[in-house]
């Protein structure tokens, strides 16, 4: 295989002049050495958060959702806010692994594995909320259409809430299959280096992968088709989540802009969470040669783009509310910006629309510190967005007599803290068990995007420029244009 020449101005994706063996050593190392004290402390903190969550959830199930502060007007509060926030975060993984694969963006190889893992854990956290907020979790299987003794009585397939159930379970399953199929060859790499009990573990995880030519051919075919399937899927999932709101007749929710605006917001928040995790992971696991500043910059560009789309959507909503001449719609937006929850609208606007604009500056896009701070801002801003849409809108009904206010109870806060605990516990375990960067895929792009090869591949072009033959044509072309 002769590597395709890559433009000399394109940044290398793998630095440090790695050999294939060096890549294996670097990427398997985190699973092979004893956990660092930082990891142990982080894991303990995550476990404590998880425990708080388990206690809060058990308490909710025991006494019922009366333990939350939801009321007659505000039927959805932190539960659905957190659900939409987590499911949004869960969108970056599939976007990186599927859409960027179809677009042939090679930089995805550095971050796709961790982003997909993050997707799966985020979807688990998200799925928890609809599960417990129905109140009687022990009959939650009523959601599914199965022949039953109650008629049989079927769920309502016209309901967006049921579509959501199908969308999220499909999304979880497909993401899991995609992620695991990518992991199998890398588990085989770890297996062939392991001894004793670890050998047994990775024998099980690697499914007996041998790496022969036919298997690789099928593996590539499967990855490509799964990517093709996952691309419309990822767009459909958040579209359907937005239908939960858009198909209702609540002013402020009943808008056709919701699907694209939710999808952009999901990608926005997902990338922010990927940045939060990657900035720490590359430092702690010493993966700076694989997750380079170039990778971080690329993701910051996506954050800038999607953040701006979200900003345009906010302004469009305001314009349409005014232009519609519909007083209830106008009041809904007036209430969001200047009502009792004005601070959450302000937080949303500041964190989501204004703050990402600093990424127009290249220096800031390439700064690890700025990236980390901005990613936290975006995470907070996107949480506020969902809170604004849900609680703020519901707090001011058609009838002023039913207007109310909502603050979460300690139990609701506990469940949210618990989902953060679940997420980070799973993520920390993942960094111990699986290679965080896709080994086989990095090796595959090494000859086109490794720094030592990127220079070599560019040499013919550089020589042409130096000898004058290429420059002259470029100059002529340039002259034609003017």
């Amino acid at each position: 295989m002769s590597a395709a020449p890559v433009s000399p101005i394109r940044e290398p994706l793998v630095t440090g002049s790695k050999t294939y063996h060096q890549i294996t050593e670097d990427l398997c190392a985190p699973t092979e050495r004893a956990p660092s004290p930082a990891w142990v402390i982080a894991f303990i903190v995550a476990l404590i958060a998880l425990t708080i969550g388990v206690v809060s959830i058990l308490y909710t199930i025991w006494v019922g959702i009366g333990s939350w502060n939801l009321n007659r007007t505000i039927g959805w509060g932190w539960d659905i806010t957190n659900f939409v926030w987590w499911i949004g975060i869960g969108h970056a993984g599939t976007l990186i692994s599927a859409i960027l694969l179809l677009f042939r963006q090679k930089w995805r190889t550095g971050v796709n594995r961790a982003a997909e893992a993050m997707t799966i854990f985020a979807v688990i956290c998200a799925a928890l909320f609809p599960g417990i907020h129905v109140g009687r979790i022990w009959v939650v299987f009523f959601f599914f259409p199965y022949p039953n003794t109650r008629g049989p009585l079927w769920p309502n397939f016209n309901s967006p809430l049921l579509w959501d159930l199908f969308a999220i379970s499909t999304y979880f399953t497909v993401s899991l299959l995609f992620w695991y199929t990518g992991l199998v060859p890398d588990f085989a790499t770890v297996r062939d280096r392991a001894k004793g009990i670890r050998r047994k573990l990775y024998d099980l995880l690697s499914f007996g992968w041998t790496g022969n030519a036919k298997h690789w051919q099928r593996w590539e075919s499967l990855s490509l088709v799964l990517a093709g399937l996952a691309t419309p899927l990822v767009l459909s999932v958040h579209t359907i989540v937005s239908f939960d709101f858009a198909t209702s007749v609540i002013p402020g929710w009943h808008t056709t802009i919701f699907p694209p605006y939710f999808v952009a917001g999901a990608i926005f928040s997902g990338f922010a969470m990927v940045q939060t995790l990657m900035v720490i992971t590359r430092k702690v696991l010493r993966l700076e040669d694989y997750i380079t500043i170039g990778h971080i910059e690329s993701m910051n560009k996506v954050i800038l783009l999607t953040g701006t789309i979200v900003g345009v959507a906010y302004l469009t909503e305001l314009f349409v509310a005014w232009y519609s001449g519909y007083v209830y719609e106008q009041f809904a937006f007036f209430n969001r910006a200047l009502g009792p929850y004005w601070w959450s609208y302000f937080g949303m606007m500041a964190c989501n629309v204004l703050s990402p604009q600093v990424f127009w500056f290249k220096k800031i896009r390439r700064s690890v510190t700025w990236t980390f701070i901005m990613s936290i801002f975006v995470n907070i801003g996107m949480w506020f967005e969902r809170f604004v849409i849900i609680a703020t809108t519901l707090a001011r009904d058609y009838l002023p007599s039913s207007w109310s206010f909502y603050v979460p109870t300690i139990v609701e806060i506990g469940i949210f803290v618990g989902t953060l605990g679940i997420f980070f516990t799973f993520y920390l375990l993942f960094t111990r068990v699986a290679p965080v960067v896709a080994i086989a895929e990095i090796k595959h792009i090494l000859k086109s995007s490794g720094d030592q090869f990127a220079r070599k591949n560019a040499e013919p072009v550089v020589q042409q420029v130096e000898s004058g033959s290429l420059e002259s044509t470029v100059v002529e072309h340039h002259d034609d244009e003017h």
Binding site: Y20, F166, V174, W209, A213, Q217, S221, L226, A440
Partner: protein, 176 residues
């Protein structure tokens, strides 16, 4: 599809370009290669080994269609025949609102069907252990293997001299 209890002669190469040249050399001297192993997919090797294109995606299409039909027929039967119900003044057979679930089930069936088929035809799965030719193949070595089950001493030495000439860094005869 592991090569259990098979005797092979194999050579390891340090780079995929040397491997490709060696496969071309083997094709020229009409030696039949049992298999090629590599740490990542080597593009172009399928043509050299005469591997036909994978039909997995055709399977994916069929599984997807099964999903589509399951969803459309299932929801139509339930809402129009088994238990007709009026929701929001819409007709019983409100086909437009079946679209989201139909799409999701199409994707779900295609993805699960293809992945399961992939592992079954590869002879892989949880708990399955296939013989490993050499532990460095999943790391940085590229391997060509010849079938030596019924090969004479003469043929085996021919294979070995082939590996010598084509620049293999390691040669071994092994029963898997």
């Amino acid at each position: 599809m592991g090569y259990r209890n098979k005797k092979i002669v194999y050579g390891l190469y340090d780079d995929e370009e040397i491997l490709m040249d060696a496969v071309r050399q083997a094709n020229r001297s009409e030696m039949s290669i049992l298999d090629v192993f590599s740490p990542f997919p080597v593009h172009g090797i399928d043509d050299l080994l005469d591997l036909s294109e994978s039909r997995l995606h055709i399977g994916g299409f069929i599984y997807g269609m099964i999903g589509t039909l399951t969803a459309v027929l299932g929801m139509s039967w339930i809402h129009a025949m088994d238990w007709p119900n009026i929701f929001g003044g819409k007709p019983y057979w409100a086909i437009a609102s079946f679209i989201p679930i139909t799409f999701e089930l199409t994707v779900l069936f295609a993805a699960i069907g293809m992945t399961v088929t992939f592992y079954i035809i590869n002879g892989q799965g949880p708990g399955i252990k296939n013989p490993i030719v050499h532990p460095r193949i999943s790391d940085d070595k590229f391997c060509i293997a010849f079938d030596a089950d019924e090969a004479s001493e003469e043929e085996i030495s021919k294979y070995r001299s082939f590996f010598d000439q084509t620049g293999a860094s390691f040669i071994e005869t092994k029963k898997l």
